[in-house]
Amino acid sequence: MPLMSTWGWFRSPELLARICTKTQGFGLQEKLALLSPGMAAFMVQIAGKKDFPALLPLNENELEEQSVKGHGPGGQATNKTNNCVVLKHVPSGIVVKCHQTRSVNQNRKLARKILQEKVDVFYNGEKSAVYKERQEAQKKKQERKKRAKETLEKKKVLKELWESSKNVTEERTADSDRMYCTAYKE
């Protein structure tokens, strides 16, 4: 890959790509799963805002962005489709490569968002907003599983009860017949 030769400190693109994809979808999907359909649209906005309340904003002066269109003429004279954005946070050395969309503008915004999260984790570790969110989401997931399991068990128990009560009714009918006959005979 051409980028590999230019950037010695570059991490494996595949690894970055996967991280990019995961983090991109993370959070929102988890939240939406908990909501009823009617609330979803309203909550998406809140969820979006809630994503980074505690995150430190990135200082643009500490960022280096590789401009893939920096070679040769630009604008109308060219048609370049390489909209991949590579963004480096110089103090920590963290690099994000984003090629999620075909709009370089969107990729730049996404790259900053992802970088912001990573930088937060880098400096704050377990105290980072991302980590906390993940913990929370996992906890909720576990709770949901637990509740689902309990509900399933309850259903099982009820089913068993119903089944057994059916059998009991049939047996009683036979018994009472016999008793009746016996009594009658005597």
Partner: protein, 374 residues
């Protein structure tokens, strides 16, 4: 399985100069290395077509094959595909789709026309030749306008619901991205080509913005044609990415551009100033006193425009700011017109010199946050 084999053979034999060899290799590879990225997986196909494009001198070989393969798999970019899809074998139908699209790329068709769509400022727009393909640099023009509208609404004449005129709307990229990010705005989009008007309308409908945009077939270089726009005026903003290529540079454009895009959307005349000067001429008649003009131009233009404006004091226009796009390259010389384009903003004056106003400075913004590596 047999049909699969036949389709596969059909696909592979369509590839130049690599017939029996590939077939035998691909077959055994696929069967024995299934979990890995075989040649018939998305990754394998990207690798294959990248090599084909490179051999044929097709620019952006890897990017082109990635976009095409991703598109056939239903994603916008290769990176955005679920990683598990990178290594799964593709269906015969998918292979055929990729083959067809890649053949178009071999004919130097721009990727945007091949896919029939492209993204701009978060919107997905339909693309169709020969309507001009929006350039990524123009996304910065949008950012600049949005910043100005947000920070200094009075400077752009926008009081809540700005009325915007776009000259040369093309696919509707600028108009629609402004509409989508300025919910109260209205746009009048003009273009001299029917195909552009038609495409802008279609994109507006796709994005459900048709209620706030008026598309008009109009050639602003025709004398007094702008008077047709008076009923809608006066405007808060005039924005344009006008044809600004210097005529003598037209023949040096890549085949993708020369053969597929409308040259009328590119050719700005001898000094690339033809349409720019027309826009600046009509601007005072259509713009509010507090309004602004935002243009995308060639790096050589601010000086040319400056001197042109000086020769037209009747227009009462002042050059307010010049902003470089994130390429940040200076004009190097007559042959190499550099990587940067300058985005310029004009504010109409009130007959007085704008030199005194705080805004009026030639601001070649140092792209401190964006560093270009060679």
């Amino acid at each position: 399985m047999k049909l699969w084999g036949q389709m596969l053979w059909g696909h592979l034999s369509g590839l130049r100069g690599r017939q029996g060899g590939i077939w035998g290799w691909a077959c055994s590879t696929w069967q024995s290395h299934q979990p890995q990225a075989g040649p018939l997986s998305a990754s394998g196909l990207v690798k294959h077509w990248t090599a084909v494009f490179e051999k044929r001198g097709i620019p952006e070989a890897r990017e082109s094959s990635e976009y095409i393969v991703a598109h056939v798999l239903g994603a916008k970019t290769f990176q955005s595909l679920r990683p598990v899809l990178w290594t799964q074998p593709l269906t015969a139908q998918q292979l055929q789709g990729i083959q067809e699209l890649c053949n178009l790329r071999l004919q130097r068709m721009p990727v945007q026309y091949i896919l029939g769509e492209w993204d701009f400022q978060g919107l997905t727009l339909k693309m169709a030749p020969p309507v001009f393909i929006p350039r990524p640099e123009t996304e910065e023009l949008i950012e600049w306008i949005l910043e100005e509208v947000a920070q200094r609404p009075q400077a752009v004449g926008a009081q809540g619901s700005p009325l915007i005129l776009e000259v040369g709307c093309g696919s509707g990229a600028i108009a629609l991205s402004l509409l989508s990010q300025l919910p109260e705005s209205q746009v009048i989009a003009v273009d001299k080509k029917e195909a552009a008007i038609s495409l802008t309308r279609e994109n507006a409908q796709r994005l459900r913005l048709q209620g706030r945009i008026q598309t008009i077939l109009l050639d602003v270089t025709i004398e007094d044609s702008w008077t047709h726009l008076l009923p809608w005026g006066p405007m808060d903003l005039i924005v344009s990415n006008p044809p600004y290529v210097f005529h003598k540079d037209m023949e040096q454009l890549a085949p993708e551009i020369r053969s597929y895009e409308d040259s009328v959307a590119l050719d700005g005349g001898e000094k690339g100033m033809d349409i720019i000067s027309h826009i600046l001429t009509l601007a005072p008649q259509l713009l509010k006193a507090s309004g602004s003009i935002f243009l995308e131009v060639d790096p050589r233009h601010p000086e040319l425009v400056s001197s042109w404006l000086q020769s037209r004091p009747d227009l009462c226009l002042g050059l307010v700011a010049v902003r470089k796009d994130f390429c940040g390259r200076h004009v190097a010389g007559p042959k190499d017109h550099g990587g940067g384009k300058l985005l310029t903003s004009w504010q109409p004056g009130n007959g007085e010199s704008k030199e005194g106003s705080g805004d009026n400075s030639y601001l070649p913004e140092a792209p401190s946050e964006h560093i270009t590596f060679n």
